[in-house]
Symmetry: C2
Subunit: 192 residues, 2 copies
């Protein structure tokens, strides 16, 4: 998606080692028109999969998920993060490891809000190690819901998440892919 790639190149902070900071337009201060166009692009990519529900994870996935939900005219459910293991049995949970923060946290959704009749499109802002996405796929599996696709804004090709998720058969699309070159520089490109 050219608009997103251009924004990353122009306004993102690309640091050696593959660190990509987009907090000035994507996941802290959010450029609303860009987020809207991202939602529209997810609609274009996934409309034929006929999702009935969008699943994302708090906090930075919510904006693009809701914008996409507006084009699909379907509800959006966001998984909540919790440091402590849940003691209720009315939620689906999955454990997610954060390599960035060196922690493990639980993601959870209320069992009433996702069912075996749902066709779920998962949306998130970043895909690196794939832990958050795997956690959401796990929650769908526990609910008996079908994952019809996964839409990611920025995928880091040099971390294993994208390869792992695609190998599992998930219909994954990323709007921008970040490569880490041998000289330590970064290239941002369209998905192949």
């Amino acid at each position: 998606m050219k608009e997103l790639i251009d924004a990353i190149n122009k306004d993102g902070e690309l640091r050696p080692g593959g660190v990509v900071l987009v907090s000035n337009f994507l996941n802290h201060r959010m450029r609303t028109s860009l987020i809207d166009h991202i939602g529209e692009e997810f609609y274009r990519l996934f409309k034929d999969t006929k999702p009935t529900l969008i699943l994302t994870i708090e906090a930075s996935g919510i904006a693009m998920a809701v914008m996409a939900g507006r084009y699909f005219d379907i509800d959006v459910l966001f998984a909540k993060k919790s440091a402590s293991k849940n003691i209720h049995d009315d939620v689906y949970t999955s454990m997610v490891r954060s390599y960035t923060h060196g922690t493990v946290f639980e993601v959870r959704v209320d069992k009433r809000f996702i069912s075996s009749s749902d066709r779920v499109l998962i949306i998130d802002d970043f895909l690196a190690d794939g832990e958050a996405l795997s956690g959401m796929i796990d929650i769908c599996r526990k609910a008996g819901a079908e994952v019809v696709g996964a839409g990611i804004c920025v995928e880091k090709s040099f971390q294993p998440g994208g390869k792992k998720i695609r190998a599992s058969g998930i219909n994954l699309h990323s709007l921008a892919v970040v490569d880490l070159n041998e000289d330590g520089t970064i290239t941002v490109r369209e998905e192949e």
Copy 2:
């Protein structure tokens, strides 16, 4: 806002003691069309204040803030919550007490993303004790930005936040107001 009031009455869980649960359509599973109309209503209420930035707080304020931002065509900044006191000096912070959870947490925004030239519209899903809203107002004050308004989806009239914030001179509007009656029942109504 009739659509929101009807949704609370029809689909919300109204429990004795003034507990209002709307996690099935507003702040966990989100009814996208309703959130869109909420954004449009905030635009109608606040367009004459000419905001340059919307400020909200993660996670459940983000959806309606982004939808409103789409109508205003301005950026949306969300304050992040943290359990630990921040050690950086590149963020504005404010301490917020959660009466619900019996905890104090810090909210923070990157100093680069709000400035003294900003006219800020604050948006959030709930207003009860007013702690989160006060924290966001405090962050605007620290940044030297003007708060031109505050838009709330659901205000609990029997908790002190609304009265406190209005008394401070903030241009506050709530789309639905929940009263706690003497017999313990709940009434949902338009703002007076």
